[in-house]
Symmetry: D2
Subunit: 297 residues, 4 copies
């Protein structure tokens, strides 16, 4: 159901009304941003288009900018639960797990949403695709303690990030925006001096001491890699992760005589992601009795 | 409250009644084993004493051996809960966490105990000090499927293991029994080329996918080691463990400029123990961006 | 001066005389091989062409095959020194350093050449591009002890290898022959968690305990790799190599406060190559106080 | 022929003449230093004795101190070649290889000795036991460029270092001087998860690009270590070293099916020593396809 992207060259050439129809939803409830940018065509690169839309917002009146912020839905808020928010927002919040919170968690969000709106006069806005659940909560708490002016600036920055990701999904062309990261792995068998094929790998997001969420599963191929990155084509949400490798099963299948339980069976590699648009390559170099990892490239 | 050990040379020289009083509890409800061994003095080494006690049991009648097995308490059984078992057994079962089971777990043990006694005519006997909780359950299930003759032999082997550990705690002298293992670590900082001091280390037993139990805590000293082994002077229970190192806090304190969250913060090293009397040295060699471990020596 | 390769499709279509002119030198002094293969066109893949030429040789008379072997020049022999051998052979021997031997080495080759010819009635033939100098000598000595029938077979296998490499250089098309290997490296800085750029790398062939020959020099780029493989587009000669990394200079430039001399300055990684058509990726993962390597992929 | 050390308690108690006889050679041709220290007895610790002897020198007249410096032999000088220097100096210079220089090297030392004496009015003094041959030459060159006052201070510091090492060899007692370092290794086999026994290890000092000197040879024991440190009980001379491990032979003996040549055969670990009184532990953690080292503890 993902619509196919529009070519930037087409956007540069189409009637203004079509342009606004195509990009009106990039900024939530604010088609005037696309309308303002339409006059500045042609852009040539997606980056130039994104810059132009940001410039329209920066050049707008304080009232218009405030309305833009106010138009955003709360995180896990009543509007979201009642289905009264933009479709893009629905999907973004669902991807962050915000549609599956417990009643206690909803209540906590409600309380923070209320406190935030009371203090700053706008809803709490954050680019949810760039954060794991624990990171969302930490930022929410940190920003509740911010001062109003800085906080509006922060909110606007997040609005720009949301817009950039939406724009990247809608438009195809030269000068792509930096809105995606990558999380990949590969496994090397240093007993046999070659890539380890057929190893089951699971990627978990560590939400708290007691809760982790399965993000992806894969099996290594003949090159010791997964056929696709474990996370790719989108930001890698800020958070703590564990890659878990079924190393014991691999070594048993390779004919190693392992003790019971083996010294290394399921091997977890725990690491943090702080740069959602970065490339996190986290390899496993292993024998039945040793392993290591490093941030690779 | 641990009584100080008796010198083997004293045991070799004391009146028979004192000898039996000293060692009568090595085999549960079976002072006749000590009595039989008394006549074989002097021993010279603890190993020879242990061999002699085992030989007394092997040479006894089938009835006497069966009674010895029958005299053992069930694991987490009614007698244990009611306090009607030998003091040594109480402590051994408590160390394995069997005095802190949930009602569901008790019920499971009750059912397995009943099935085992029904099938083999003896209580399920295992040297609990050599097993973590998950290992206990796995062995219990595996042995329920064994055949009666092999199972009596297995039970007797476990009785010997229990006796060896009790004897080691009671007697001091040459030729010590191999009844203890060791679990140790050290941390090396390869950014600075020296041991990493002041790193918090926690050892957890991984009971299941969702449950882990804290076994020990320590902080590394100037040599990057813990002042005492994390487990020492006793068997290392068979099971799966995680050492968790507070590496992020160490690197922050050392002045490294880390991202938030850091790539490496709490570093878990997960490994299995299959040889309770072995030495498991599990070092961490680390930088803010890489780490490794191996079974060391 | 390397002639540009001919397209296989052109070879498949051209007059027979042109085909023989184009491929007549693939087998030394034996244009009859190309002539025989010409009748079997079209081939479709380079592999099929190579197979056909080998089949022509296998189907020829014993006399013709012997003449083919006898037509090869000796290694570092008089004919080579006097320039009376095929141009392709001149270049192959020069690449192996056989045109720069000391008088003592020439004398040794002369003696082995004479002994070999005396024993087997053919010159010693080996695909020199697949061997470093030490490996050439070891094989020469080993093959002197072989029996005549096996040795003729071995000589023919080497002739096929030489032919395959020559053919690969002459013809372009689908189904390429496996005649090239690769030797590459990359350097990872695990203090900073990123590729190490600007590190000088030298590749040496270790000829003996006292002699090594510089094969290639490079500097790592922003990705920690060299812009081109250290060896590529040709077989990696069988032998022992050392990669030498100027790690100390890199760490000093990065602002590390190193002792004098540094713990790690020039870091040699010594490794052997046994599969000339394989990919040898030999990375360096390093800090100022630690390093490692493995056969990567 | 090494005389057994004298107990400090005896030195504290013996007649002054005996004390001076015992320690008169600690400072070259300067028994007045021992005589001066005799009056300050008892010392209690070797450190206090060493401090007292240094204090005697510091408190002496400029003329006496200059005479002390002038009394030292040149490095590899005519007096040394003619045997006209103190026995301790003979041995110290021989240990540094200065009795086995080529004529060209002697000539170079002669020239530097002459230039140094011309410039500073004293012989070039350095504690040779703390330097490898390359380090000696580098320091000699660096100090030739120093200014006279700083250089006399440096010369005196070296005299104190020479005295401390001589004193350590002569006297036994509490409060030992820090005059010895250690160079050790151990090898871990991470295919089998245990120490690698029976591995041949050679320690070479790298004198220049083309010259290395064998310092020690050993074979690893069951614990993967050498029975004694490769260097111990003396300073580890400042310089560059290579540990060379016969890893290929070990893996072949262990039944691994290795290619010919193996990927890892002789594994050199090259490292620098800058702190002669430090402990350099340089382990090898290896499989047939990977290895690593770090400065251990």
């Amino acid at each position: 159901m993902v619509p196919s992207p529009i070519a930037l060259t087409d956007l540069d050439a189409m009637p203004e009304a079509d342009f606004v129809a195509a990009l009106g939803a990039v900024y939530e409830h604010a088609p005037w941003v696309a309308a303002g940018a339409a006059a500045l065509r042609p852009f040539g690169t997606v980056e130039a288009l994104a810059d132009a839309m940001r410039a329209v917002i920066e050049a707008a009146s304080d009232e218009a900018r405030l309305a833009l912020l106010v138009g955003h839905p709360e995180l896990a808020g009543r509007a979201a639960r009642a289905g009264r928010i933009a479709q893009a927002s629905v999907e973004e919040q669902a991807a962050a797990g915000l549609d599956r919170l417990s009643e206690a968690e909803y209540a906590r969000f409600e309380a923070m949403n209320a406190a935030y709106r009371e203090r700053f006069g706008i809803p709490f806005i954050i680019c949810v695709k760039r954060h794991g659940r624990a990171s969302l909560l930490r930022r929410f708490e940190a920003r509740l303690a911010s001062d109003p002016e800085a906080e509006r600036r922060t909110a606007l920055t997040e609005v720009f990030r949301i817009g950039a990701i939406r724009l990247s999904g809608l438009v195809e062309g030269a000068g792509r925006l930096r809105t995606t990261g990558r999380l990949s792995t590969h496994v090397l068998d240093t007993v046999r001096g070659r890539p380890a094929a057929g190893i089951g790998v699971a990627l978990h997001e560590i939400v708290s001491d007691t809760e982790s969420v399965l993000v992806a599963r894969a099996v290594t191929n003949a090159d010791g890699r997964t056929d696709a990155p474990l996370i790719g084509g989108r930001p890698v949400p800020i958070g703590t992760y564990e890659l878990r490798f079924a190393l014991g099963a691999y070594h048993r299948a390779a004919g190693h005589d392992l003790p019971d339980p083996p010294f290394l069976d399921i091997v977890p590699l725990r690491f943090g992601v702080s740069d959602p648009e970065g490339h996190y390559h986290v390899p496993l170099v292993a024998t039945p009795w040793s392993f290591q990892t490093y941030r690779g490239s």
